[in-house]
Symmetry: C2
Subunit: 120 residues, 2 copies
DNA sequence: TTGACACATTCCGATATAGGCATATAATGA
DNA sequence: TCATTATATGCCTATATCGGAATGTGTCAA
């Protein structure tokens, strides 16, 4: 099989830098496709494609506005992502992290020297 | 061009469900490859490949321990992800968000009914 | 109806996966 | 050195992109 479909969930959707930029822009309010494309330096079809992906994972919503289609942010889908990543917070914010790393480095150095430990 | 390489950054690395599972397991401490593979129901080569990706974006670190190679979590690379996603927090936590969405839904419903409106 | 404008979709080509399988490499012990 | 255990890699296939260009669709105005 190939890689999981990018349209499967928010994790995949935000793996694309351009899509992240789109989401950031949309924090400023609804925008039509052409404007997004122009501001991000991409072609209109490209913008439409990325917006489609974002729509499929429900990170944006659309509404017709005459000729235009205004895309708006729907950030609720980012909440699970935030929570998942947040589950690792203590592993980078606590000072023990740096300490732990230091300990690991020591162990490794010691091991590379003696090369006979099996106490893990 | 094709999609950005999955090895480019943490966003891409965690787009893969199995890699997320590996990271979660590693919160419990260092583990050898075979154990990870067994616990996650994947083959050893598969685990090695995923670990390689995680290594390349510095989300895990390795150290030799005799015959084994113990993989450990290095969550610092997740911090930028957490911060980026956190930038959208007010868009899902503020009550105005649900209100706004409700309004959007009303507009859209109304639009789909009359189907000849141009008052947007 | 026709033309113009805003978007969406399709087709194409190049590439990057992810998985399965076989195999190479590394470390240990007899 | 040889066998064993633990990992890493290489090769192959199917598939999922992403980008570009062309074209289809929808809306509005004259």
């Amino acid at each position: 099989m190939a890689r999981a479909a990018t349209t499967s969930d928010a994790f995949n959707a935000i793996a694309e830098p351009q899509r992240r930029e789109i989401l950031v822009l949309l924090r400023g309010g609804e925008r039509p496709v052409t404007e997004l494309a122009r501001d991000l330096g991409m072609t209109q079809p490209q913008a439409s494609k990325h917006l489609r992906v974002l729509r499929e994972v429900a990170l944006v919503r659309v509404r017709g506005a005459g000729k235009q289609r205004l895309y708006g942010l729907d950030a609720r889908g980012l909440r699970p992502v935030h929570e998942w990543v947040g589950g690792f917070e203590r592993f980078w914010s606590e000072s023990f992290d740096r300490l732990d790393e230091y300990v690991q480095e020591l162990k490794q150095a010691r091991q590379e020297e003696s090369q006979d430990d099996d106490d893990q």
